[in-house]
Assembly symmetry: C2
Homo-oligomer: 332 residues x 2
DNA sequence: CTGAAAGCGCTTACAG
DNA sequence: CTGAAAGCGCTTACAG
């Protein structure tokens, strides 16, 4: 491999000068600069970024630890985060939750000296959170947050759940099923609280046989949906904690030959782009598409480049908008 | 930051021994090994992988350069590639086509000394292809291939297009519109050839007003769809070169208040997972889900670990299966 | 089984 | 404006 020594030799200068031409061109006389540039060209020299990183202690790499792409929400955030980082001159190391323990991913990331971390996969009481804070590596959480503190950008999940539940109540629904993911995750925790709160205000209560927690996989959601719709007194509406779950739920409902919303209303939360497809038309509530990922990435890069003010965590809560489409209708 | 020197000092051994404990534990006496291990534990030592890479000349990193996640096909390959790589102990640097010129991505990748490259975004006559070959970095292309040679795993696009076109002809369709992406990409080129071939065999020909090439974006496909369906003599069936395009097409058709397949039949190619959703039920043709990405990653890792046999390129062509669902029906 | 020394390919004070 | 020297944190022959 060609190194800066080779370039230096060919240009008849020192290695330091080659380095300067690369990193601070104005500091070297045009004449010498051109000699170096020509040598670089001639040799097809490619600086070894690994070596550079070792001395500068910066890799221009951010790590993205994201929920699985089976959830369309993370498809949108992953796409926009990677593109934004790329445009800003950062490489993105991607990990999807589940393939490896967060602990091991974090160790790998530390060893690789990434400049910053973007993380969706944190639990409410995750022991990793404190470690990440302590590591001093700039980070932004997105979509989920820990119980206390941290830098994050999330949806106002409580409000989102309130809004969509209100909508269902207004349509006359009283038997509303709720399918949630594990409530040790802030998103699911906060959405459930919002749902319960509105029920309570309406003089209703969360009925155990209409409330289900599952692992958010399509097969699990499907099973629960079938169980619900086979009840002697099935719900007239189903609220799913995410749009991705609502898609699975819809799939199961339709597979039974039932119609939406005639036989059962269906709603989700997140308002991912597929929700607006004319074949889906899912009523949902969420923030404008893509923005969560972008905001997280923007803030992270700012922290990397202008330093972290650890006394003032970045906590951004986006306000949701209700989007009524075709999967919710009056109770019959 | 704690280095192996600190560990060595604390354990009362040399840096070499610390290195051995990490990389070849059996080569050091249990006694010394334990002293070192204890020191590592005590100091919370994390080896600097950047420094290691500089000397071993291996980063355990693969670069994935993928088509955009707006196309569900690449969602599935990205998900399975990243997970497979992670499980095998490789990090994945991800780039999406379009955010940066392939030329610049490649330079960045070379500088970062990745162990291998997984690339979907190659054109038929892409000047970058030769450069990649020449670089000597192990690589696998997937989904698309260059005109000649290379390591790749692709669908038998010609057969896929043949099969789906046959299906449409058998349903009685004669005015079949075809919406394609740019034909300087092998996928679109081969699919178009397959489509034309079957038409020709049936004594039909590709009619200019029914054949459209676009940039595959949802808005472009939508525009073309509207144009087609507003013709005085609209097509009775539309074949889209990818399922992702078929989804956009479906969206546009439904937005006009038309029904599928009553007013127009619709088919795609790829058979991505969303195609089987009960609200979509898209007739398509493709290989079993996820496998293309996995096969590409498996082969790449094998090349990285067991060496490249450059005289025998890896060329894997997967056979498609036709999956008839609800978007295609008899011509009325 | 272990250590001292050299080296991977850069950058960065320091001196001139 | 430029060069010689030291150093980033590892690994790897080599010697013992």
């Amino acid at each position: 491999m060609i190194s800066s020594r080779d370039v230096a030799k060919m240009a008849g200068v020192s290695q330091s000068t080659v380095s300067r031409v690369l990193n601070n061109p104005e500091s070297v006389k045009p004449d010498t600069r051109n000699k170096v540039l020509r040598a670089i060209e001639e040799l097809g020299y490619q600086p070894n970024l690994i070596a550079r990183s070792l001395v500068t202690n910066s890799t221009r790499t951010i790590a993205l630890i994201s929920g699985t792409l089976s959830n369309g929400f993370f498809v949108e955030t992953t796409n926009s985060i990677v593109d934004l980082a790329t445009n800003r001159g950062y490489k993105t190391m991607v990990y999807f939750e589940g393939a490896m323990a967060l602990r091991d991913i974090f160790d790998s990331i530390r060893g690789n000296k990434v400049d910053g971390i973007l993380l969706s996969s944190i639990k409410l009481d995750d022991p990793m959170f404190e470690e990440i804070e302590r590591s001093g590596i700039p980070y932004m959480l997105f979509n989920r947050r820990p119980r206390k503190g941290g830098n994050y950008v999330i949806l106002d999940n409580f409000s989102a759940a309130e809004m969509i539940t209100h909508h269902l109540l207004e349509l006359g629904h009283r038997r509303i099923a709720y399918i949630s993911g594990e409530t040790n995750i802030s998103t699911f925790f906060e959405r459930k609280i919002g749902f319960e709160q509105v029920l309570r205000e309406a003089g209703l209560s969360l009925q155990p046989d209409l409330f289900h927690v599952c692992d958010t996989s399509s097969s699990e959601v499907g099973k629960i949906t079938l169980k619900l719709m086979h009840m002697s007194n099935p719900p007239t509406a189903i609220l799913c904690a995410t749009d991705a779950m609502a898609f699975s739920c819809m799939d199961a409902v339709l597979s039974m030959g039932l119609r939406i919303p005639e036989d059962v209303s269906l709603a989700g939360i997140d308002d991912i782009s597929m929700a607006s497809h004319h074949a889906i038309q899912l009523t949902s509530v969420g923030h404008h598409k893509f923005r969560i990922g972008e905001i997280a990435a923007e803030n992270l890069i700012e922290m990397i480049e202008h330093g972290v003010e650890s006394d003032r965590p970045r906590q951004i809560i986006l306000q949701p908008e209700l989007v009524i489409r075709k999967t919710t209708g009056r109770k019959r």
